[in-house]
């Protein structure tokens, strides 16, 4: 079973600060997804990165896939209270018939203090 470790597990910062969340594994993934989960709801997809070294931007969020496709990072610029939530990375492993299975990371609980 592939393992995905996220760090830090908890992060609490002031509004306006920058932060980075890391997602690391010893396994190679065909792609990697980032989800955000808010209290009382299921996770919602933010982005999918596919190519080693790929960088994707979603407004103030920047996602990077490591060159070897074993790790990823999420950088938030000028954090806002609306960014508060549980961030989960998920690595994709190919299965039969073109389907894929996700292995989820351990999660980073982010709190932005107004």
């Amino acid at each position: 079973t592939q393992l995905l470790e996220q760090s830090p597990q908890f992060l609490s910062i002031q509004e306006g600060e920058n932060l980075t969340v890391y997602c690391n594994s010893s396994s190679v993934f065909s792609s990697l997804q980032w989800y955000r989960q808010e209290p009382g709801e299921g996770p919602v997809l933010l982005v999918t990165v596919v190519t080693g070294g790929e960088v994707k931007k979603l407004k103030r969020l920047t996602f990077q896939f490591g060159d070897a496709r074993k790790d990823s990072s999420l950088h938030i610029t000028a954090a806002q209270p609306g960014d508060t939530g549980l961030y989960l990375c998920a690595g994709s492993v190919r299965r039969d018939f073109g389907n894929e299975k996700l292995t989820f990371g351990t999660g980073t609980r982010l709190t932005i203090i107004p």
């Binding site: 996220q6 919602v44 299965r95 292995t103 351990t106």
Partner: protein, 113 residues
């Protein structure tokens, strides 16, 4: 929008009971998944299904079984509930193929007393 509906938000059962968690999706997705979520452990895959009547074990299938008699419905069964199965259970669905996002229900918080 994709809608994944889990039958209960909260459920309390007793040790040894047989427990059914139901999940229905309305987007004709081929794939369905059951996860449990525990603090510090992220989401762990229990079982998944790529087609009707088809099921595969995930990473932690012990003590669980599943049923997929219709494409839109995926049921998780705790054969004989134990206290270590107290957790948040999340159902998800996705289209078949590569890089498809998984769409999640809002979860069932199950307590086994």
């Amino acid at each position: 929008d994709v809608k994944v509906t889990q039958s209960s938000r909260y459920l309390v059962k007793r040790t040894g009971e047989k427990v059914f968690l139901e999940c229905v999706q309305d987007m004709d997705h081929e794939n369905m998944f059951w996860y449990r979520q525990d603090p510090g452990l992220g989401l762990r895959l229990i079982y998944f299904s790529y087609d009707v009547k088809m099921k595969e074990k995930g990473d932690i299938p012990e003590g669980y079984s599943v049923s997929r008699e219709k494409k839109e419905r995926f049921s998780l069964i705790l054969e004989s509930a134990s206290t270590n199965q107290t957790s948040m259970y999340l159902c998800a669905s996705s289209m078949g193929g590569k890089r498809q996002p998984q769409h999640f229900g809002d979860g069932t918080r199950l307590s086994i007393l």
